[in-house]
Assembly symmetry: C2
């Protein structure tokens, strides 16, 4: 099974400094706007934004204030995600004032922990007798997982153990409560998250019990009789979200609990839960060498990326349950494609990459990152898409209830703030997704400019400096600082979007075809200090088509250039409905950097035929032919759409 | 305002005998299968069909049995619709046994009437103290309206007054309860129906108070302060459909109560309620000469047929509220297009036609009738579509929750049996939609073969015999039997689907262009006994396109031949997804009668390019071009789709 090379372990965030022209803007935005803004919202201090009450909940649970719990049952996780983002930010950008704030929040969280290690403000304040009675709905272990991720990030950045100790005690408590032993609850959470968090806790502490607990949650899921169904019976059908008992047991597929995970063939149910779970499965497969688990991961990966993923790296075809539907069902205008789900897909991809150095994982990671994830955030860092459609008609968003979830512009921070803090934590930890090391091989997965210090087997350490013109130009160079000449392998990802990659070392062309394997060019040599690798990845604007089974895109093309998918917006194309444009495939597509467009971006211009509304003589239906005139059209990167007011947008255009 | 000729009053059902080859099958099916089957379901005697309990409810309310109310709050209307269909059936096809059954049901209904005239089994049995407290949800006046329609139909067919007297007493009671006077309820029903029924009751009895009551309901609707909102406040937000009080007042647009009816500009809300209301508005405009009401009818008509109607005559773009959405929003795959709504559109069209002899009304009536309405019923008379989609992918109906309402084959009788009895009552009264008389002009609106006796002004009576080859061939002839030669005008509808109609009287060509007005050829002459009119309406299979604003159909064509819209089904086209077909507009479309196809039908065969899935080398997305090979395709009439098992279907095909 494991014939592929393992890409190994990531070069950790604290050893990577991003100085890339494209990305530093985003990292700065997260650091200077998103994290402070989120801190203020958690403290209910942003005028016009619905109070979060998240910090107040902790104060009440800690006995510092009187009051009632307020917010979603998973409100605690907003505090955790903020702390996690702060941890990543501090790892690369020390900020004593921010650290002081975080320490105060951590003190508060610690104070809210119960004597037995339990930590959850909803059940502490509001339903103290009902701990662990509704795993299906109540996100108790989900919130625990987020706090664990935060603790690990903060510990790694600052060396401070306070929050780590809190979550270890909580994890120990959870390990007592859950399991298949006498007197234990044979359960698992309705919303996966703790599984991957426990792996991180194991990595940070070396405590094997946390890895085993993660494994327990993964193994127990989907086992018959279903814990979620039994639990529902015990509650007499009462749930958290409805005041009346439900006649129907929970939808197990929604929770990926319909089958033991190793028997799952296709990605189903709530997309975020699914990819969080697959991430943990891949983690566990890496640590345990469990081949059945690895096989399940590969099956589920293949199902997603070859049958259920939008070209933007979005996943989740329906807003009903924010869920996957079925193979090739990828409607552009009723899509969900939650920002969080693409972030989870990046987690999954990064874990698969550690198991197998196959560039497809990094290709998908890049696709999700450059399109859906950064598209999820407005240029001001204060407005976010939860749903990332590929086709928008603003009137339909308002006037057709089946499209109410499709927003034509990014709304402000929601009371359910899952996506914004998720974007913040992903972007502030971006450095950790660039490189991995396996034995004496250093893998370069993403061409994001900056510096990194890496340790290879045999005590070899190197410092490398990457310069990149991506995503605007397909050029990158890598300079190595070594204490002395050393033999090792540099494995460079050759992106699938580039058909003619060129690599040179110190000006000498490398025979890429001779050294490529699974999408990586393996350059094995004795490297000297100052050696310089140049990559040229010619980037043509291309028309992309979809698999014939993907009915929604029949007769349509999308435009892609390098990692970026493009969108046509009404703002640039005043020819009536976007649907009236027919792309001329014979005409060239011209790429041009427009410095004025939303921070500067390469736009694509091409030729189309535009059907003229004025020339239409029929009513609603007519045998008349449509008249079309040649027009130029302009497409902008998808991640920038919806930043210039309301208008129509489409990724897939008629050809 | 009233510049158009009025097409006047319908030639009543009892004076029309349909002998048409196409339609007699349907009428026979309704008579021999649907009505008896419905009778059995009402009596809970059909194995495998959820009990209706409708007759039992009446027995309980009448004191004949003990028990609880069961079924929808509007369950009574199923009994009423059955009686109405029976009335129409008996008018043209006497059947003593059926009449005996109906008399028994009527006896039961009469017995369930309360001493004050009130009649509703739900409130009589289940909530006796709560009459008229929830007009928004509870369909009390709606059920009353259906019983009135039944009574009028039965009285007209049999001359028996029993049910008519029952509903008159009920209407008198309603007139006492409702109104703007002291101690009256200033209300109206959440589901319009009684308005048009009261007009019929006026027509049958000559009692002006019923017309005035109809007018009151129409005039009061949408008046501020909103009755429905005030009622909701009085109920403290409690509704019929949810056990918990609603924080939001009723959605007034859903009920077409957001504005006074004369101020309504576009069709909004629940489509069936809308068209039932517009029907009554047109009726009232005819009787009262109220020009503001007529103007509203015209605006709403134009909005529907020029901006919100499917090519099949379906209306209602969303299943959320079974409702209209907004102009040009006509998605084919998430559509609602309820059978009942198209029936209501036929009611509205027939009333507009009486006001104005403009063929557009009859064109739309014909479109809805030949496509959506008869398509709503399976060839066995026991399975029905409520939703009539224009594009079906059976996997999506199961696998995408946004399309669960789209059924790939007709389900059996539902517990909510609104559509099947509605089809039954429409088809059994079909004769009444063919002709109208205005002064000395006889209008022929639909070319459905049969005989009719008509009375024109001046005591002139004529007997006519129409033979028609529609919808398969564009030929019809009309023979007149007159007591003696007489001068009058025959106005023949020239359907919009025919570009070169030809009319001859006794073999002599009529100069149609010289005598056409608003789509009718007015042939004014002294007619002699035995005169014969021949119509030739050449019927080409045509490719039809949509208005450029109708985004869902951009780049697509539909096939229409005569009144029939065509659909391409997987059963006839084994080239992979229907979406892989691209119609060649340069290739001819051939029409051929296939006697084996579901009772015999003209199929259309043409040429297309089919994209080959086997030749696709890419994965989900690729810059590869698609290979296509020329294939023949076959389309069948839309009304026949879904009769050969599950498969893909599409009306709009890529061009």
């Amino acid at each position: 099974m494991k014939t592929a090379v393992q890409a190994g372990k990531p070069v950790l965030l604290e050893h990577v400094r991003i100085t890339d022209g494209f990305w530093t803007d985003y990292l700065k935005l997260v650091r200077e706007v998103v994290i402070p803004y989120q801190y203020e919202t958690l403290h209910d201090r942003v005028p016009g934004v619905e109070p979060s009450h998240a910090i107040r909940n902790f104060k009440i649970a800690a006995g510092e204030e009187e009051g009632e719990f307020y917010g979603f049952v998973f409100q605690d996780s907003d505090v955790a995600k903020w702390l996690e983002a702060v941890g990543y930010s501090l790892a690369v950008h020390p900020d004593p004032e921010l650290e002081q704030r975080a320490d105060e929040v951590i003190d508060l969280v610690a104070k809210a922990q119960q004597p037995d290690g339990y930590l959850n403000t909803f059940f502490t304040i509001k339903e103290p007798g009902k701990r662990w009675t509704n795993l299906t709905d109540c996100h108790e272990l989900y919130c625990a997982g987020h706090m664990m991720e935060a603790a690990v990030a903060y510990y790694r950045a600052t060396g401070k153990r306070k929050l780590l100790d809190v979550v270890c005690r909580f994890a120990d408590h959870i390990a007592d409560v859950f399991g298949t032993g006498e007197g234990q609850l044979p359960g698992y959470d309705g919303h996966q998250e703790i599984e991957l968090a426990l792996v991180k806790l194991y990595q940070a502490t070396g405590e094997e019990k946390y890895l085993k607990l993660a494994q327990y949650f993964i193994d127990q899921r989907g086992v018959e009789p279903s814990f979620l169904v039994e639990e529902w019976k015990k509650r007499n059908g009462l749930g958290h979200w409805s005041p009346v008992p439900s006649k129907n047991p929970p939808n197990l597929s929604y929770h990926q609990a319909h089958l033991p995970v190793r028997e799952q063939e296709t990605a189903v149910g709530h997309a975020v839960r699914a990819v969080y779970m697959y991430t943990a499965m891949a983690d566990l497969a890496a640590y345990t060498g469990d081949e059945t688990l690895l096989a399940a991961c590969k099956r589920l990966w293949n199902n997603i990326v070859h049958k259920q993923m939008y070209i933007t790296g979005g996943i989740g075809s329906t807003h009903h349950g924010e869920a996957f539907t079925f193979d090739y069902d990828l409607p552009n205008d009723t899509v969900y494609a939650e920002t969080c789900a693409s972030i989870g897909l990046i987690f999954f991809a990064s874990r698969m990459l550690r198991l197998e150095a196959r560039s497809e994982y990094a290709d998908v990671l890049e696709r999700a990152l450059y399109n859906t994830v950064i598209g999820g955030m407005a240029r001001d860092g204060r407005h976010f898409f939860y749903v990332n459609p590929l086709e928008v008609w603003p009137k339909a968003s308002r006037g057709n209830p089946g499209k109410h979830h499709i927003k034509p512009v990014r709304p402000g921070w929601f009371s359910c703030a899952c996506c914004p803090p998720n974007v913040a934590r992903l972007l502030s930890s971006l450095g950790e997704y660039l490189y991995t090391v396996s034995g004496e091989t250093l893998f370069v997965h993403l061409y994001i400019g900056g510096e990194a210090e890496v340790e290879l087997d045999g005590g070899l350490s190197a410092r490398l400096r990457l310069e990149s013109a991506l995503p605007w130009e397909g050029k990158a160079s890598l300079e190595l600082s070594l204490p002395s000449a050393a033999a090792f392998t540099l494995a460079l990802r050759l992106p699938a979007w580039c058909s003619a990659p060129h690599v040179a070392v110190n000006g000498e062309t490398v025979d890429v075809q001779a050294c490529v394997r699974d999408g990586y060019a393996y350059i094995e040599r004795v490297w000297s200090p100052g050696d310089r690798v140049e990559l040229t990845l010619p980037m043509e604007a291309q028309l992309v088509r979809s698999h014939p089974q993907l009915r929604a895109n029949a007769g349509r093309v999308a435009i892609q250039r390098g990692p970026l998918v493009y969108a046509v917006e009404e703002a640039d194309n005043g020819h009536g409905p976007v649907s009236s444009l027919v792309i001329r495939k014979d005409a060239p597509l011209a790429a041009r950097f427009d410095p004025k467009l939303l921070g500067g971006a390469v736009v694509i211009e091409g030729q189309a035929m535009a059907e003229e509304e004025a020339a239409w003589s029929g009513g609603l239906y007519s045998a008349a032919e449509k008249k079309a005139t040649p027009v130029s059209f302009k497409a902008i990167p998808y991640y920038l759409w919806g930043n210039r007011g309301e208008g129509e947008m489409a990724v897939w255009l008629r050809e």
